[in-house]
């Protein structure tokens, strides 16, 4: 009886079934709250032709950026390019297809996919290159653009704690895109810092119910800081 136990034994098992040309939705903002070991596993597997949906593409050395040198990413759907020279280079040279998507629209597209909303109107991007070729509609005197949801074959997520049922709790701004990503994968894989028994998380404080989670693994994390800013104390 497996019941609701989502824990898998290895990173190989966590990413089993990932194939060339699939779409992967990834949580994280910058290098904060990224599923770093799941990304490393994708690099190790050498899967090619991926479409990756994530706010950014990590740096040249960390996060999703490590999939760039071997050209594992065919297409990137992201809101931000800055601070990753290789990403910008591959984009400018046309080696990598990039679909720039406003950050809020990207978050909403993931949420919509998980929530069975195939499309929604938003004012974001009206009159900009983002809206080209998309339906524009005037609703109550304002123009909106129709945006469609994005579902992934896989979603890769980093949470802080989980119980074995896959109920998730995130920590501070490492939450970011992770809860939406978790809802948007046909197979949702989550790595966490700690796994506890069911009943040990307060039901009122669970951020992502386990119904969205297919596989769960405990990892250890580098948690690289991109901009280490400190205040001086006297």
């Amino acid at each position: 009886m497996a019941g609701f136990n989502k824990v898998v034994a290895s990173y190989e098992a966590a990413m089993a079934g990932l194939e060339d040309n699939m779409t992967v939705i990834a949580g994280g903002f910058g290098l904060c709250g990224i599923p770093e070991n799941l990304i490393k596993e994708i690099k190790k597997k050498g899967t090619q032709g991926l479409t990756i949906v994530s706010n950014n593409c990590g740096t040249t050395t960390h996060g999703l950026g490590i999939l760039l040198p071997e050209k594992q990413i065919k297409k990137m759907i992201a809101s931000y390019v800055g601070e990753n020279d290789e990403f910008e280079r591959q984009m400018m040279s046309g080696e990598l297809e990039v679909e720039l998507t406003p950050q809020g629209t990207l978050a909403e597209k993931m949420r919509a996919a998980g929530a069975g909303i195939p499309a929604f109107f938003t004012a974001t991007g009206v009159g900009t290159p983002i809206a080209e070729g998309k339906e524009i509609r005037n609703i109550n005197g304002r123009e909106y653009v129709l945006e469609h949801s994005i579902k992934g074959d896989f979603a890769i997520v980093k949470a802080w704690k989980a119980d074995t049922f896959g109920n998730l709790v995130f920590r501070k701004t490492a939450r970011n895109f992770n809860p939406m990503a978790a809802t948007a994968g046909n197979i949702t894989v989550v790595e966490v810092e700690e796994i506890v028994e069911p009943g040990q998380l307060d039901p009122d404080e669970i951020h992502t119910p386990g119904i969205y989670v297919d596989r769960l693994i405990k990892g250890s994390f580098e948690k690289t800081i991109e901009q280490r800013t400190v205040r001086f104390t006297f």
Binding site: F29, L100, Q103, G104, G125, K172, N176, T229, V230
Partner: protein, 218 residues
């Protein structure tokens, strides 16, 4: 004298009001946090999912799980809350943020703004900027008035791909504080010691200059 980055931040801070929820973009806007008047409470929204951004951490306080939208390590202010990116942009898109301050490459007389790419040269990405300019009523753009080569960034029509259409009403540059209405720039204030002639010369769109243009005070 053209305003320094710090002075730009100081002048923006004068637009704050007690009880404002404010989103500060990366760069100069971030500095505004240093000039919040003492007798005022303002909460800073960081679009990666934090309302109530505090000051930078001490070495001991640094936490990789707590950053702002500029990916800088930060702290939380008292009464802060954390949420996911969908909720963060629900807040922004839904018009709940009282003031948004962000940078730009160009602004034009129609209130258009360009800030996320220079074709063939630079692709930064829009991040949350398109959502911010679409969601806020009250936006201040901060930027230098002209490029290093002396080309005006205040234009009749933006030349770069737009971040938002018809959404900018106020621009603070290192030379002037300008309002956009009726498809014209209106000069509200000038930087201390900067002449109206210089502002006119460096503004490449119709600029309405009232009889009296006060100098900014700091």
């Amino acid at each position: 004298m053209a305003l320094s980055r710090e002075q730009l931040a100081q002048r923006v801070a004068q637009e704050l009001q007690d009880g404002y929820y404010v989103n500060l973009g990366i760069g100069i806007p971030t500095l505004v946090a240093n000039y919040i008047p003492q007798d005022m409470e303002v909460m800073l929204q960081s679009e990666n999912g934090l309302l109530g951004m505090g000051q930078f951490p001490t070495e001991e306080e640094i936490d990789a799980d707590l950053i702002n939208a500029g990916k800088q390590t930060v702290t939380m202010a008292t009464g802060a809350s954390i949420f996911d990116s969908a909720e963060s942009f629900a807040m922004i898109r839904g018009g709940h943020v009282d003031l948004t301050v962000l940078g730009a490459f160009e602004v034009d007389v129609q209130g258009n703004i360009a800030s996320y790419m220079i074709p063939g040269k630079l692709i930064k990405g829009m991040g949350g900027a398109m959502d911010l300019v679409a969601g806020a009523d009250n936006i201040i753009v901060t930027m230098t008035h002209a490029s290093k080569h002396g080309d005006s960034k205040l234009l009749t029509k933006c030349s770069l791909p737009l971040t938002g259409k018809g959404c900018i009403k106020k621009v603070l540059t290192d030379l002037a504080f300008i309002e956009i209405k009726g498809n014209k720039f209106h000069l509200l204030e000038r930087a201390p010691g900067v002449s109206i002639e210089e502002i006119i010369k460096l503004t490449n769109g119709e600029l309405v200059v009232p009889q009296h243009v006060p100098e900014m005070h700091f």
